[in-house]
């Protein structure tokens, strides 16, 4: 009992004990921060790697691509029960431009299958990119949509654009004197307004289209009685007027209006039989609908989703908030080299260019991807990249259509390291059956990203070793402090022994003292370390704001934010380590105190 009381008294009354606690706390916090950030970094890489490309990646090292991928995927899903989803993917390079702007930027153009894209019948057995990846979660306008695609409803985008405009207004108000922010906001508002106009028109077009399609359905069911006919004619006429006046499509729809107002049209009904009259109206309606469909923003295969972070298309305010300058509804131009073509003796590569409507933007939080990726419908890119089927003039297929990679998602129960390797070898076996073993490689996500994972794992080991060595300082610190204390307290030791204290009792006081310093220091250090890690991004932002220095550069570290999760087992191990360090530091001085002869101790001056 006296040991505990004396231990606590020593702890309270000695300033040096506070320094020892501080030393231990700093070492604990330091190691905790390093381990948490490094482990978090590795976890993020795993999450990002799996989130972007699934658990197993089959890819063609050349740009030639993987043939028979549809059949391969169908067989894969049939024969490998661990496979949950598989999707083809095309990746190539291109140049991005913005109309009326002196802007160009090289980008990766990727073709992904999303729900609602135009596609061949054979493709339907395959899964979507969103089934394999976490792509959907990072979408701007469609993050809440069950089936995000390249054809989101204009009203949905419009809502997001309106919201984004307000958000940008707030950013502008926060940085009134920041020229970068202000010019970005100015550009953003121009593009937002343009997009809003396009989208409002699109909303109108969608509504008109839906109503006209309904009218056509009614017309198709109608027998063409006078009453019905005149009601339908009036309705169609009203829509035409709306399209010309409200929609501003005079050029396109005035000819239809003129047709309905022409004496021929007026006269014709009486000359024709009822079925012929209704058929004439149906035909007119079909023409109107066909024309109106061309007014929907660029045809379905000319739509893209931009990576959020392409330099020049968005800017970051100093606090990290993004100012989108190009938003869904705007147009961009893409030029790409059709690398999927066979270049045998031909040396010229002619780029393919087209304008595309941006329908959404995607954020993966992997800065390298967000800064360079443009997503477009898989089959569109397949055509543009000349990876479609090559046929002779007689229609004989000489080369089937191809994709660059196949991303495979594995069921959760087979996603651990060993099980995944087993699934990968099954995939390889099947590749052999399709003759793909020479042209494509199957790798687990870990193998695919081995270089970066290996680098970070080595960095972590190095950092932990270095900080571990630094932490030895705390052991030495405690040792020195305790040695001094034993010297200072020699008389006390003599007194304790003189009144009956045992050697172990005396050692216990100093060991308990060491353990207490270790425990208190490690609790303080781990609490401090926890909060540091938790708010590491806010701390970085503050350092950036005050000193203009950014430790975590997203271009260097791949990710937007510093990982801020503390791993509880690691924290527990560090706390135990600190207590052991405290005990070790106190051990030799304690033994010295215990072995001290009471007479010598009492005589000590």
């Amino acid at each position: 009992m006296y040991k505990l009381i004396l231990c606590l008294r020593y702890l309270r009354s000695r300033l040096i004990a506070y320094f020892a606690i501080l030393g231990v706390a700093l070492c604990v916090a330091m190691v905790l921060i390093v381990i948490s950030v490094m482990n978090g970094f590795l976890d993020k890489i795993e999450e990002a790697a799996k989130g972007l490309r699934g658990d197993i990646i089959v890819y063609s090292p050349s740009h030639g691509g993987i043939e028979h991928y549809e059949a391969f995927i169908a067989r894969l899903k049939q024969e490998v029960p661990e496979v949950e989803a598989a999707t083809p993917y095309i990746q190539t390079y291109g140049l991005l431009r913005v109309p009326d702007q002196d802007y160009r930027r090289t980008v990766h153009i990727v073709g992904v299958r999303l729900p609602g894209s135009p596609e061949s019948d054979g493709a339907r057995a395959m899964d979507y990119y969103t089934d394999v990846s976490t792509f959907a979660e990072g979408l701007f306008a469609q993050s809440q949509r069950k089936q995000p695609g390249f054809d989101p409803p204009p009203e949905l985008i419009l809502t997001h654009i309106e919201r984004d405009m307000k958000r940008i207004g707030a950013i502008s108000a926060d940085y009134p004197d920041d020229p970068t922010v202000q010019s970005a906001v100015q550009a953003a508002s121009v593009f937002h307004r343009g997009a809003r106009q396009v989208l409002r028109q699109q909303e109108f077009v969608s509504q008109q289209l839906a109503q006209l399609e309904e009218l056509l359905r009614q017309a198709e069911q109608s027998d063409g009685t006078d009453d019905e006919l005149s009601w339908l004619e009036n309705a169609v006429f009203d829509h035409l007027k709306a399209l010309i006046e409200q929609g501003g499509f005079g050029e396109d729809f005035r000819p239809f209006e003129n047709r309905m107002q022409s004496p021929e049209w007026k006269r014709e009904p009486s000359d024709l039989t009822e079925p012929a009259r209704i058929e004439k109206l149906r035909s007119l309606l079909r023409d109107i609908i066909r024309t109106l469909r061309t007014k929907r923003y660029r045809s379905a295969d000319r739509r893209v989703i931009l990576g959020l972070g392409i330099p020049g298309l968005s800017v970051r305010a100093p606090d990290g908030r993004v100012i989108r300058m190009i938003v869904p509804g705007n147009t961009i131009g893409l030029s790409l080299l059709p690398l999927g073509r066979k270049y045998v003796s031909d040396t010229s590569v002619t780029p393919v260019s087209a304008w595309f409507t941006v329908v959404d933007d995607a954020r993966t939080d992997v800065s390298e991807i967000d800064q360079t990726f443009v997503y477009m419908p898989f089959e569109t890119l397949q055509k543009l990249n000349q990876m479609g089927a090559e046929k002779t003039p007689e229609g004989v297929t000489v080369r089937p259509k191809r994709c660059s990679s196949i991303f495979i998602k594995v069921r959760t129960d087979a996603a651990d390291r060993a099980a995944l390797a087993g699934v990968a070898s099954k995939v390889r076996r099947l590749m052999g059956e399709f003759g793909l073993e020479d042209r494509a490689v199957a790798e687990t996500w870990r193998q695919h990203h081995a270089q970066i994972i290996g680098t970070i794992e080595k960095q972590r080991t190095l950092a932990v070793t270095m900080f571990g060595i630094i932490s030895l300082v705390s052991v030495v610190l405690i040792f020195v402090i305790f040695y001094m204390m034993v010297v200072q307290k020699t008389r006390d030791i003599g007194v304790i022994k003189a009144v009956g204290g045992s050697d172990t009792g005396v050692a216990g006081i100093f060991l308990g003292y060491g353990a207490a310093i270790g425990l208190i220091g490690s609790i303080l250090g781990s609490v401090g370390g926890y909060f540091f890690v938790r708010y590491i991004n806010e701390i970085q932002d503050a350092i950036d704001r005050w000193f203009g220095y950014r430790v975590w550069d997203r271009d260097v570290f791949l990710f937007e934010r510093i990982p801020n999760e503390v791993n509880p087992p690691a924290a527990a191990a560090i706390i135990v380590g600190a207590i052991v360090a405290g005990l070790l530091g106190a051990l030799i001085p304690s033994i010295r105190a215990a072995r001290m002869q009471p007479v010598e101790a009492l005589r000590y001056e």
Binding site: M1, Y2, I5, L6, R9, Y10, S13, R491, D492, G494, V495, I496, K497, A498, V499, G500, G501, S502, D503, G505, Q597, P598, V599, L602
Partner: protein
């Protein structure tokens, strides 16, 4: 095991203790033998360096003799194991030092109760804490320190500190109190008061063995032993 008879508190037989000082050997005690009866007050007088304190440390089990026997209350203690010696030191011996030797981190009451705590396990101490505290309070009251129990030793005068040390020595009701120049660090008036306190406890039956170089102080004892060059001389 031999013992020193039923009425003896301390029996010392042919005690030898030498210290090695570099190449030379300093023989501090050279066959010291004497007895202290229960309830007796014995003073050992000698010049500085005569071996008084060494003798007291051997009897108080703070050091081991090279040769000879020490019998405390009928029990041979010189050759005991360290653990037993700790227990005997705690239970049967009370020390009063010249320089008080109180723990600066403990207050008066805690210093007094320290041997009481050590004599029991944590559980045993927790069970008897109240009664031992009462005893400590009574002792301190008798020594005129009841209003100083929360004070730290450094806040007390020399005389007060020595009275605290006496209380600490007496708390376990030891068989013998060993006092090493108990007034050596005090002025004569305070020294007198301290001697009066010790005499008072002796009158109540406490066995006392005091070493001092002060013949006048030794005069208060019932019997005086003279130590000279590590041997007792009869005068």
């Amino acid at each position: 095991m031999s013992n020193g008879g039923g009425n003896m508190a301390v029996v010392v037989r042919k005690l030898h203790r030498a210290y090695r000082m570099g190449r030379s050997v300093l023989r501090v005690l050279r066959g010291v033998s004497f007895q202290v009866h229960r309830g007796e007050f014995v003073a050992v007088v000698g010049a500085s360096g005569s071996g008084k304190s060494t003798l007291l440390h051997q009897i108080g089990l703070l050091d081991r003799p090279d040769k000879g026997q020490i019998v405390l209350d009928g029990e041979e203690v010189a050759a005991m194991s360290a653990a037993k010696r700790n227990a005997v030191r705690c239970r049967d011996i009370g020390f009063v030092f010249q320089f008080y030797h109180l723990l600066g981190e403990f207050n008066v009451l805690e210093n007094v109760m320290l041997p009481a705590q050590m004599s029991r396990s944590t559980l045993g101490w927790l069970m008897r804490r109240k009664s031992r505290r009462r005893e400590a309070m009574e002792l301190l009251e008798r020594l005129g320190l009841s209003d100083r129990i929360k004070h730290r030793p450094q806040e007390l005068s020399g005389g007060e500190r020595q009275r605290v040390a006496i209380a600490r020595a007496l708390i376990n009701r030891p068989k013998v109190v060993l006092a090493d120049e108990p007034t050596g660090n005090l002025d004569s008036r305070t020294g007198e008061q301290i001697m009066e306190v010790l005499s008072e406890f002796h009158r109540q039956g406490q066995t006392l063995l005091m070493v001092t170089h002060d013949a006048a102080l030794a005069g208060r004892a019932e019997r005086i032993l003279h130590l000279h060059d590590g041997q007792l001389k009869t005068k």
